[in-house]
Symmetry: C2
Amino acid sequence: MNNRKDFLYQQLADKIETMIINGTYSTGDKLPSVRSLHAEHGISISTALQVYVHLERKGWVEAREKSGYYVSYSRQQLPQLPEISAPSRTAALVKVSERVSLVRHTVAIKGIVSLIGASPHISLLPVAKLNKALRQAAREEKNAYIPYGDIDGHLPLRRHIARLSLAWGGSVAAEDITVTNGAIEAATICLRAVAKAGDTIAIESPTFVGLLQSIENLGMKALEIPTDPVTGICLEQLETTFRKRKVAACLIISNYNNPLGSCMPDHHKQQLARLIEQYQVPLIEDDAYGDLHFNAERPRTIKSYDRTDLVLYCSSFSKSIAAGLRIGWIINRRYHEQLARLKFMSSASTGLLPQLVLTRFLDQQRMDLHLKPLRQALRTQQAQISRAIQQYFPADTRLTRPEGGLSLWVVLPPKVDGWEVHRRALQQQIAFTPGSLFSSQQQYNNCLRLSNANPFDDDQHWAIQTLGKLIRQQLDGRR
Amino acid sequence: MNNRKDFLYQQLADKIETMIINGTYSTGDKLPSVRSLHAEHGISISTALQVYVHLERKGWVEAREKSGYYVSYSRQQLPQLPEISAPSRTAALVKVSERVSLVRHTVAIKGIVSLIGASPHISLLPVAKLNKALRQAAREEKNAYIPYGDIDGHLPLRRHIARLSLAWGGSVAAEDITVTNGAIEAATICLRAVAKAGDTIAIESPTFVGLLQSIENLGMKALEIPTDPVTGICLEQLETTFRKRKVAACLIISNYNNPLGSCMPDHHKQQLARLIEQYQVPLIEDDAYGDLHFNAERPRTIKSYDRTDLVLYCSSFSKSIAAGLRIGWIINRRYHEQLARLKFMSSASTGLLPQLVLTRFLDQQRMDLHLKPLRQALRTQQAQISRAIQQYFPADTRLTRPEGGLSLWVVLPPKVDGWEVHRRALQQQIAFTPGSLFSSQQQYNNCLRLSNANPFDDDQHWAIQTLGKLIRQQLDGRR
C-alpha cells in the first residue's frame, strides 16, 4: 500500500513540477488546494499534502498561511539567453590540452563540490539492474569474454544499438555499426577517417573540449562557426565557409551541445544534411546527449536526414547508462573499412565484458522506462541551478536554457576572469569548468560551464551562492 | 588417489618431454625402461607405462617391440635457422593496412584450421579462476565500475603491474603506469608522445604488423633494421643509423618478437639502453610476449637497463591471462603528462570492469603458477609444429626456434609466393599469416608466420601437411 501511495504522490508531484518548470505556472501563481487535489485525483488529504511538502522541499512552491501553496519559481524570470557566439573566422591549430590539465585533476579532489559532472550522478543510474545484468553475465557467459572479440563489436549489442536508432529517426543495420571505447574514441577515429593533419574542421563555438583535444592531437585546424544557444550552429555562416574555403569535415554536437545546450531544430538538421551533400563535406555527428531530452520527444539527428552516408554518427552509453563501461559506437557504412582499420590501430577490438553486460541489460530493460526518471531529474537539477544563478549571480548574467543534456553555459560581464574565479573557487573546494576550455581561440574566459549532472543539494546551493560572491567581488575590484 | 597418480605421471612425462625438446635426448636415443622408471621414481608399473603412452601419443617417442621406447624427435634435425634479415636502408611510409584487410576476415571463418592465433588457446588460460574473479567482482564491487575511472588506471591494478615488474628486472612505481585498452593502444599512444607524422621510426625487420599499422596510420616512416632470428635487432646497424640520420624513436619487441621469435640477450639490451641514451632517442619497448618464456628464467627488458627514462615500456595481459579483457599498460614517468593527454584523446579512461576482475584475479593467483603450464604447452605446441614442418615442408625450408612466444617464422625458397599459398590454403579452410605483412617493404613474400597458440591436434597436423603440399606444388610449377 505504501508503495502505491508513494507512487501516486510522486506522479502528481512530478506533473506539477513539470508545469512549473515549463512555465504553465509562474511565480506567484496559486496552485490547486490540497482539498481539490484530494477530490480530483482520488488521493487522501495526507497524500495531497505530501505532494506540496515535497515540492516545497525542492523549492518550487511556498506555503502562505491560510491561503495555500504558491509557485516560487519562474522560467520567465531566469537570466537572459546568451547572444549568438562570434568567434574569429580563421582556422587555427588548437591548444587546449595544457589548460585541460589544470582542470582534469580537480575532479578527483576529495570532498570537492562538483559542478563538473560529465555523466549523470550514480543515484540517477539503473545501478541495480546493471548489477543484475553483470551478475548474470558473470554466471552465464563463462568464457565468451576471454578471447579477442569482433573488431566491429559484439553483434547482439550492435543489434540493440541499431534498434535504438528508431528513436532518432534512424533505420540502421547492425553491420553499419562499429563499437568503440566510448564516444571520444569514436570521434577521434572518425576524424582520422575523413581528415588529416593540417586539414580544417568546422565546429560549433563553443564546443566540447574533448573534441577540441582530438583536433589538437591530430594536428588538424579548428574553424569555429557562430553558434546560437538555442538552435545551434549557424547554417548561413557554415555555407559561406563551404563556398569560400576547403573544409575537410564538420564536427557537430547536434543535440544539447556540451557546453552550450543548443539543439538544432529538425529543419536545420535537414538543411545541414543537404548542405554537406552539396559540398561533399563529411560530417561527424556527436549525439551523446540526445537521449537526455526534457520534452516528450527525442530530437532527431542529422544522420536521419543523411541520404548519401556522409554523416559519421557517434554516440555512447556514457550519459544514459554507465560511463565506466566505456562503450560508444560509430554508425556509417561508407567509411566502414577505414574505420575498422583505424579502430584496430586505436585499441584493437573493444573489450567484450562491458558489451556482454550492456547486451543483457538491454535484453531486459526498456531504455525509455529507465530514461524517463533520469530525464526528469536532470531537468529538475537544471532548473534548480538556474534559479540559484538567477538569485546569486550579477543581474547582467546570461544563461542558457537547454531542453536536455548536462550543461548550463553562463556568460558573465566581459571583465570577469573565469580562470581567476576558478582558482578562488577551488580554494573553497568548488569545481567547475572555465569557459575558455571550450574554444581554440582566446575567448569565453568570462564564461563558465556548470553541470546539472548531480542532485541539487545544500552543498550545490552553497557552491552557486559562493560563485556568485566570488564573481561580484571580482567585478567590484575587491579581490 | 587418482589425482595423485595423474600428477605423478604428468610430472614425469613433462620432464622427459622437456629433455627431448631441449635436445638432451635426440632421435633414436633409447629412453629409460618402464621398469627403471618404476624403480627410480617410486611409481607403479602401470603409471610408468602411462608416461610413455602419453609421450607416444604426443609423438615424442616410439615403441620398438621387445626393446622399449625410443626418441622420435630431434631438435638438431629441425630446419636451419633463417639468416639475418637484410631490408632496404631507406625509411619509407608504411602501407600494410590493405594487405591486413585481406587476412583479418579469415580469423572468423567457421570451421577454419587456424595457424593465426594471436593469443593462447582458451584451454590454456586460467578460465575457472578468471570466472571466479568475475563473479566476485559482480557480487562485491557493485557500483565501482559505473562512473568514469582514473585516467591512469585503477590504482590497485597498477600496484599489481608494478610488482610484476620485479620478474623482468624492474622496480616500478604504480604512479609511473598508464593503463590502456591493450598493448596496441599503448604503443600507438607512445608513438604519438615521442614522434610526429613524417618522423622516422627504427624497427626490427620483420616486425609485428599491428605496430606497422600504427606507424602507417600516424603517417610516420618505418626504417627497418637487419634483425637476427635469435638475438634480435642488429645493434651495429642501429648505431650506424643513429650516427647518420635523425631517428625520432625506436619501436622494439625485445622478447620473442612477433613474428621472428628473437629474444635480445641481456648484454644487447644493456648496450641498446646505452645507445639510446647516448643518441637521446626514445625507445618504445613492446614486451607483450616476455612472460611466455620456455626456459626457466624470464628474460629481462631494455627498460630494466634504462637509466634516463627514455624507454616507454608497453605490455598487456592479452597473451598471459585474457586478450578479451583488453588491458595493457605503459610504464614511463618522463612522458607521463603527455601520455595521459593522449590517452584521454584516444579513449578517455580505460573501463573499470576488466580492471576490477584482473585485480581480483591477481589478488588471489600467483602469476608464475598460472604461467608455468601455459609456457610448457606453448613450447610443446611449437615443437610439434616444427617437427611437422620438418617432415612436410621442402628440405631447404628455414625455420626459427624461439625460446618463447607464439610465433614460428618459416622462410621458404625465394620463388614461393606466400600470397598464392595463402589463397589456396584458404580454399582448404587453413588460415596462416603471409610473411609480407610483417614488413613495410616488398619482401618476405616467401615467408609464413605460423602460430603455436593452439593445441596441436590432427587438424593442425593435416594443415601443416597440406601447406607442405601446396608449397611443393608451387615449387614444381604444378599449380
